[in-house]
């Protein structure tokens, strides 16, 4: 049978606030254990939570970014469960009245097509601490630095159909939250963690199958593999006439498999009820309007603008609009050279290629966008060829200065002087009488090929600096 998979994702996004959601402790990653844990974070007797206004601001920003309705009166609830890294014995979360309601946003697939994915809700909650089981000789250490870090839990509709779409969704989400500057989106440090809900149904069916939940998958690649694996697992069971058990599973990246969590790890009744230590969060229209005004152009809008205004392919627009710094860089390059297509090509192939080879980021890039634009301008005005430009770019990367300075210093300016070129061409023709003879006897098709040979020889003799277009024109005259 043909199975269709139905996938919904819950993403736990760490918000990049300076302090925790309910205490003044810092949220820096990687500090010594328990150095960023105050009496509130330790749930000492009598301590009370105070809501961080910045976290609310960020959540609203996200809501506006996906066109969602903002909860005008959102409520915090206690989610009760015992675990050593949950110091109060409950997590402060939002249950019935989340801060962000239904929304929707567009994802872009590798084949250049787009899809719209629904967001059910997003709510604020606090992160837990960490249990450390190594180095404690059969005991566990508790690090509460992370306890109380603000999380926005973003719940998608079951609109996703396969692993590719899931990854595209996560990438689009990553792009959105970094555009909004509400999260560093650093997946390696756990800033974006994902739970996957997945079920299968017969192709064409409109009812939902029984789902399994895969917890805490922390990279795009693992999401892809976990989903692929889980689809296979469920399909195998269903093909054999079995039934899927509704359960929570863990993805084991080392073995590339999902397996059920121990039943103890799954709490059944969280006994949610409104957190009496916090007041409802009341948000008025003016507050929302203020945030709306400060929203940057978002990835989807930018992508469409790049495609329309610059005439880029969906693929190119998608790559260039992926992050705000890259998009901004690209637009400066375009501004300096006035040719979006060549700029798009240079940014994607040369710049991103070089960044990738050197394992560095745009923030560390030694070539300013305006300088790259200047280089492209020299190609466009015929000062240098594309090939020479690559040499110049190398030199710019090494910090030798602007394109003009390097072209000048290295004497790379293209020879477009017809007198000088004619001299070289005469020499080349004189040096290859056999080929000249062949050319004169050849038919139209073969002549083209032989012209290529002569152009190559001229370029070689000019050390690549001859203007290829002029060489072609002059050769055509000289060879008849």
């Amino acid at each position: 049978m043909n199975w269709e998979s139905v996938i919904g994702l819950e993403v736990h996004l760490q918000l990049a606030t300076r302090s925790k959601i309910f205490s003044g402790s810092a949220t820096t990653f990687g500090a010594e254990p328990n150095t960023q844990a105050s009496a509130v974070d330790l749930a000492m007797p009598g301590m009370l939570p105070v809501l961080n206004a910045e976290a609310v601001h960020y959540a609203v920003k996200f809501g506006l970014g996906i066109g969602a309705e903002i909860g005008k009166r959102s409520i915090f609830d206690r989610k009760n469960y015992f675990y050593p890294d949950s110091p109060k014995g409950y997590q402060i979360s939002q249950f019935e009245a989340p801060i962000v309601g239904e929304g929707r946003f567009e994802i872009s697939l590798p084949d250049g097509s787009t899809r719209s994915i629904g967001i059910t809700r997003a709510h604020l909650e606090e992160d837990a601490g960490k249990s450390l089981h190594e180095d404690y000789h059969g005991q566990s250490g508790i690090d509460l630095n992370r306890a109380g870090t603000p999380l926005l839990e973003i719940v998608s509709e079951p609109d996703i159909r396969n692993a590719t779409e899931a990854v595209a969704y996560l990438k689009a989400l990553h792009s959105l939250v970094t555009y909004l500057e509400i999260s560093d989106g650093n997946m390696a440090e756990g800033s974006m963690r994902c739970d996957i809900n997945i079920s299968l149904r017969a192709q064409g069916s409109t009812t939902l199958g029984t789902r399994a939940e895969i917890k805490n998958v922390n990279s795009f690649r693992f999401v892809e593999k976990a989903i692929q694996h889980e689809i296979e697992r469920q399909a195998d069971i269903l093909e054999d006439g079995g039934t899927i058990v509704q359960e929570t599973r863990l993805y084991d990246a080392e073995r590339d498999e999902t397996r059920p969590m121990r039943s103890k790890e799954v709490a059944n009744d969280y006994r949610y009820f409104p957190e009496p230590d916090l007041l409802p969060v009341v948000i008025d229209d003016a507050y929302i309007a203020d945030i709306q005004r400060t929203l940057p152009e978002l990835p989807t809008t930018k992508r469409h603008r790049f495609a329309e205004v610059y005439g880029l392919s969906n693929y190119d627009a998608n790559v260039l609009a992926d992050t705000r710094p890259l998009a901004d860089y690209f637009e400066v390059v375009v501004g300096a050279c006035n040719d979006a297509k060549i700029a798009a090509n240079w940014v994607q192939v040369e710049l991103l290629g070089q960044l990738n080879r050197e394992q560095t980021s745009l923030a560390q890039c030694p070539v300013p966008a305006a300088d790259l634009g200047g280089l492209i301008a020299r190609i466009l005005d015929g000062s240098i060829s594309g090939k020479i430009a690559k040499q110049v770019f190398e030199a710019m990367w090494q910090g030798e200065g602007s394109a003009d300075a390097i072209i000048e210093a290295r004497g790379l300016k293209q020879v477009s002087d017809s007198g000088a070129l004619e001299g070289i061409i005469t020499e080349v023709i004189a040096g290859h009488p056999e080929q000249v003879q062949q050319f004169l006897e050849a038919d139209e098709g073969r002549r083209k090929k032989l012209t290529g040979f002569f152009v190559g020889q001229v370029m070689k003799a000019s050390k690549g600096q001859a203007n290829p277009q002029m060489v072609n024109e002059l050769l055509a005259k000289k060879l008849v």
Partner: protein, 487 residues
């Protein structure tokens, strides 16, 4: 000296009649000699108290004294005190020394008052008799065979027995007013949000409120002036401006409209106690007040509502006591589950466990709508009843308790009859209103308390009414015999 009120001591200190060290030492000596009879204190730190008294004397000498500078006070052992054990009456926190002060304590410290010690209480403030304390029951100074009430029974007994000029208490369902009534002192539960809850160990977050317990309304006003105020670290604390509670004490009661809810004078009220209340109300009439019958139609919902809301909140507030970070931890836990269950089994007493079970049940899937949600709806109705009453009357009055202090052990096997003790006080917490209890006579040589209930942020008016009544009567000036001083 120990017969002085706080305001008398305050004057004496500023006039240099005696030093804070002398006053403090006097009370410390009384505690050392007499508290064996009452068991009102859990911790006393003489050295810290005397050091604070010295500092207060220096401040008084420099002319920089506030009204409470140099006044020794006792604090309920629910308020966290930096460097001084804060047990909440529980074995769970028997080893807990907070590294911080509650906001209330911080405010008293900066006012220059001296901490005499920490008073006994029902475990985690759950009780109406002080019998659920891990440190043993407190005895009522008027009759040591009787309970002092609870849960602020240690504070009430300490003030009544003149072991402290005044004390702090907390009130979740009557825990200031009922022991104040039983011990013949004056106690005020302020409007919810008037006094910061930060560092006050939580029982039921939406009901808990700290307040003063003293020998007069005037003293309560002095203490409340220091305690009250917005605290940005407590999100439920109110930013309504704080008035000077001593400023309006003398206002006339002419034209005061007092509402008497029929539900507070019906079945269940001890007749002799009712007689005392009626006499006290006559005094108020004589001072210019008029008495009107009012109705609180949802009174019958009060006890069931309270006993869902309070345990529900408590059940999760007490989850943090897990043996992981502080407090009691069972010996040699085999695994995490063993650590949790044995720590909590050993650390909590029966009444606390009972309420955790009730609360957990009320919040459980499938029961939430029937219990907790319904209780919240009932709570709104109860609150609305009071707001409706305050359309036609200025305050509401009645007895604080159905009868005077009962014998120790009398309700050991009957938790429900213990819960009924608070029938007149619980609704005030559910509605978030200010309420106070003040002495209004005696039944079988045991004090009776008159309860006054005001609209939100009406504590100033309540203190004014209580003060005028206390100027016209002398019930509040009487003190129990303690073997050293004739009553």
């Amino acid at each position: 000296m120990h017969k002085h009120t706080v305001s008398q001591l305050s004057r004496g200190l500023r006039e240099g009649k005696y030093s804070s060290v002398e006053v403090t030492r006097h009370y410390l000596q009384r505690i050392a000699r007499l508290d064996e009879r009452y068991n009102a204190f859990i911790s006393v730190d003489e050295q810290a108290a005397l050091a604070a008294a010295e500092a207060a004397d220096a401040r008084l000498a420099s002319g920089d004294g506030a009204p409470l500078t140099g006044i020794p006070l006792a604090h309920k052992d629910i308020f966290c005190t930096q460097g001084l054990k804060t047990s909440c009456g529980s074995r769970m926190l028997d080893n807990f020394v907070p590294p911080y002060d509650a906001t209330v304590i911080e405010r008293f410290r900066s006012a220059g008052s001296v901490i005499l010690g920490k008073t006994n209480m029902d475990e985690f403030a759950m009780g109406s008799s002080n019998e659920s304390s891990y440190y043993g029951a407190t005895h009522n100074p008027w009759n040591t065979g009787c309970v002092p009430g609870g849960s602020s029974g240690g504070s009430a007994a300490a003030v009544a027995a003149l072991l402290a000029p005044a004390a702090t208490g907390t009130d979740t369902g009557g825990s200031i007013r009922q022991p104040a009534a039983f011990c013949g002192i004056t106690g005020l539960k302020p409007t919810y949000g008037r006094v910061s809850r930060l560092g006050m160990i939580a029982f039921a977050s939406s009901l808990d409120q700290g307040g003063p317990m003293a020998r007069s309304a005037e003293d309560c006003a002095l203490l409340l002036n220091t305690m009250a105020g917005h605290d940005p670290r407590d999100s439920t604390s109110s930013d309504v401006p704080v008035e000077d509670y001593t400023a309006g004490l003398e206002k006339s009661l002419e034209g005061l409209r007092i509402g008497l809810p029929d539900a507070y004078f019906g079945e269940g009220l001890d007749s002799a106690t009712g007689e005392c209340i009626r006499l006290a109300l006559k005094e108020l009439e004589a001072l210019g007040a008029t008495l009107t019958a009012v109705s609180l139609p949802h009174s019958a919902l009060t006890i069931p509502t309270y006993y869902i809301v309070a345990p529900a909140e408590a059940s999760t507030n007490l989850s943090r006591y897990d043996g992981v970070r502080y407090g009691h931890r069972c010996a040699d836990p085999a695994d995490l589950h063993d650590l949790y269950t044995r720590t909590r089994e050993e650390g909590f007493g029966d009444e606390v466990k009972r309420r955790i079970l009730i609360g957990t049940y009320a919040l459980s899937a499938g029961y939430y709508d029937a219990y907790y949600k319904k209780a919240q709806q009932a709570r709104r109705l109860i609150r609305q009843d009071f707001l409706d009453c305050f359309q036609s009357v200025d305050i509401i009055a009645g007895p604080t308790t159905p009868g005077p202090a009962f014998a120790l052990g009398a309700k050991d096997n009957d938790p429900v009859s213990m819960y009924l003790e608070d029938v007149y006080t619980l609704a005030v917490n559910l509605a978030g209103l200010p309420g106070m209890s003040l002495p209004a006579g005696f039944v079988q040589d045991k004090p009776v308390g008159l309860q006054l209930i005001g609209p939100h942020f009406g504590e100033g008016r309540l203190l004014n009414i209580a003060h005028r009544l206390q100027q016209a009567t002398d019930w509040h000036t009487r003190t129990p015999a303690d073997g050293e001083n004739a009553a």
